[in-house]
């Protein structure tokens, strides 16, 4: 799982294929569950792929391996994306995915610790950055070189706790923490900038003393290069604003807020899979 080679075209192509597989898994899972959140799962698929299949040190055969990097999905409703990455990495069998959101299944509606590879439960928004801050503090106390990653939704930035953590992490000089915002611009009730504007986001976060980058969240090369660039700054936390498209990869879900938390019907499922197959 630990591919640390230079990022050449062949590796990049593999990662793009991975991301497409993750997207197909997401659609399959949510269609099978008849509920779930496709929009934010699809928008985060390239970020999650870059982390799990290139950036992070982790061991699917030993989920609690002490040397692992940590990932916290603060936007817990995007868990189909994470579950797919865990399954495709080998934490559990890919066949588990079809049991999403069903009783006696490993894969709950929002992340929890019964799933191998999940560090902590999330789903009530706004809490993940604090958790990641705590993990980063703990690892530093241990003298560990492991890194901590948190994936945040843009909508959840409206939550006050996020800004409490925004204040704390730079104060604690947590150079081992990288947070990524899945900036897809949409939340359940509509565009973030209509519901409760976040902009100017970059300057806001910079004013809290983070190192901030702004990237295309579907460009895997850019995601990886930016995260690696951030590693060189060791005395402050990094925030990557990853511009994404909600529902990315399925034409009729793209920028369509109605697919925030809705499963595709039979016909939509068929079209979505056909589109994703064409990308394989």
């Amino acid at each position: 799982m630990n591919t640390k080679e230079t990022l050449n075209d062949s590796i990049l192509n593999d990662l793009k294929k991975r991301a497409n597989t993750i997207r197909k898994d997401i659609i399959e899972m949510i269609y099978s569950a008849k509920s779930g959140h496709p929009g934010g799962s699809l928008s985060s698929a390239d970020i999650v792929t870059a982390l799990y299949f290139h950036i992070m040190n982790h061991n699917p055969k030993d989920p609690f391996w002490a040397g692992r990097d940590r990932f916290i999905l603060s936007k817990g409703h995007a868990c189909p994306s994470l579950y797919a990455a865990l399954a495709e990495s080998g934490y559990f069998d890919v066949s588990e995915l079809k049991n999403l959101r069903k009783p006696k299944c490993l894969l709950q509606g929002h992340p929890c610790t019964m799933t191998p590879g999940i560090e902590i439960s999330t789903g009530s928004l706004g809490q993940g950055l604090s958790i990641a801050t705590g993990i980063a503090l703990g690892l530093r106390l241990d003298g560990s070189s492991s890194k901590v990653f948190a994936l945040l939704g843009d909508g959840e930035l409206q939550s006050g706790q996020i800004w409490e953590a925004m204040m704390a992490a730079p104060n604690f000089k947590l150079g081992n923490l990288t947070a990524i915002i899945d900036r897809n611009n949409l939340q359940i009730d509509g565009p973030t900038e209509k519901v409760m504007p976040l902009e100017p986001l970059k300057s806001k976060i910079e004013s809290f003393n983070w190192q901030v980058y702004e990237i295309d969240g579907h460009n895997i090369r850019e995601i990886i290069q930016t995260i690696n660039r951030g590693f060189k700054i060791t005395d402050k936390p990094k925030m990557i604003i990853a511009h994404t498209v909600k529902g990315k990869g399925v034409s009729f879900m793209e920028n369509n807020v109605s697919f925030h938390g809705k499963s595709p019907n039979d016909e939509e499922y068929r079209i979505a899979m056909k589109e994703l197959e064409a990308n394989s």
């Binding site: 789903g123 705590g134 703990g138 706790q161 704390a168």
Partner: protein, 313 residues
């Protein structure tokens, strides 16, 4: 029962003592460390003490994160903020994932006195007992506070410990005689069982003395561990005496008395009367005076005891 002590002082002392050998202990506070007494740990072990400022939600999240790295985390503030402000964070980030976080709240109940309702937390027991995986302990004095902190520091999992602001009479003479987790009998009796926790334990002991002068033999039980609750201990005493009075410095609506009532109604119904704050917000004032106004007194426990005895069939 001799002398007085301040449980939150005892908390600060035991944390500093444990910190010497327990390098896994990390302490968090939210700008109240001089009042919660975590500051003594902070001075001694600055590397393992984090003041997060007035940001309790973040404190709970950081506590959860630290615990995933194998730390034993103590997080403190006033009960109003350590529980009331952050119920969702505790539920989501700590209780559900069984994180090894000990939330030790001080200034619970009406002992904050003059600060008034905004700071008087009388719902924390209800909130914390309602959470699956959460252990809930209300120590009666400084000895029990130290014993509680010592024991919970050795166990994995989420715990809520409730402490007040004020000095309280010593119920015990040493830590050795205390057993955490049990409904412990402090005084044997045959006519009525007085079950109490926290600062009401000493009031029940006083009440037992007063009842004795009237020829009534009261059994006094310290129920400091409210979750997991010692069902058998409660039932055993109820079978012996046939009636119960509970006493708590908490909203009576869903507190210790309600827990005891539900157990006995299921397994051994007997008359139960409850002393506590009767589903009302209190007010500012000297806390001893407030205890009188809201009938959290030994006199009230005596009165209820006689009524409960009269209700026996």
């Amino acid at each position: 029962m001799t002398g007085f002590g301040v449980p939150r002082d005892a908390y600060g002392e035991i944390l500093s003592e444990l910190g010497e050998t327990r390098k896994d202990i990390v302490v968090l506070d939210a700008d109240l460390s001089s009042s919660t007494k975590t500051s003594s740990f902070g001075k001694k072990f600055p590397d393992r003490f984090f003041n997060v400022g007035i940001a309790e939600q973040n404190m709970i999240g950081i506590a959860a994160g630290l615990s995933t790295t194998g730390k034993t985390v103590f997080a403190s503030s006033f009960a109003m903020f350590a529980v009331g402000r952050v119920y969702d964070q505790i539920r989501q980030s700590i209780a559900y994932s069984k994180m090894n976080v000990k939330i030790v709240a001080t200034h619970a109940g009406i002992t904050v006195g003059e600060d008034g309702v905004s700071h008087q937390m009388i719902e924390d027991i209800s909130l914390m007992c309602a959470l699956p995986n959460m252990k809930v302990i209300v120590p009666a004095d400084t000895f029990e506070t130290k014993k509680t902190i010592r024991e919970v520091s050795q166990e994995k999992g989420p715990t809520y410990v409730r402490l007040g602001r004020s000095k309280v009479p010593n119920v015990f003479n040493s830590e050795d005689e205390i057993k955490i987790g049990k409904a412990s009998t402090l005084v044997d009796g045959g006519d009525i069982t007085l079950i109490s926790s926290g600062i009401m334990v000493s009031k029940s002991l006083e009440a037992a003395q007063m009842l004795k002068k009237e020829g009534i033999s009261a059994e006094v039980i310290n129920l400091s561990t409210l979750k997991p609750i010692d069902r058998q201990g409660i039932i055993k005493s109820a079978k012996k005496t046939g009636c119960v009075v509970t006493a708590e410095e908490h909203n009576i609506y869903i507190g210790m008395g309600a827990l005891v009532s539900s157990i006995l109604s299921e397994e051994y119904p007997v008359p139960i009367l409850r002393c506590g704050i009767k589903d009302t917000f209190a007010q500012s004032g000297d806390y001893e005076l407030l205890m009188q106004i809201y009938n959290l007194t030994s006199d009230e426990i005596c009165k209820l005891s006689k009524n409960a005895i009269a209700m026996k069939r």
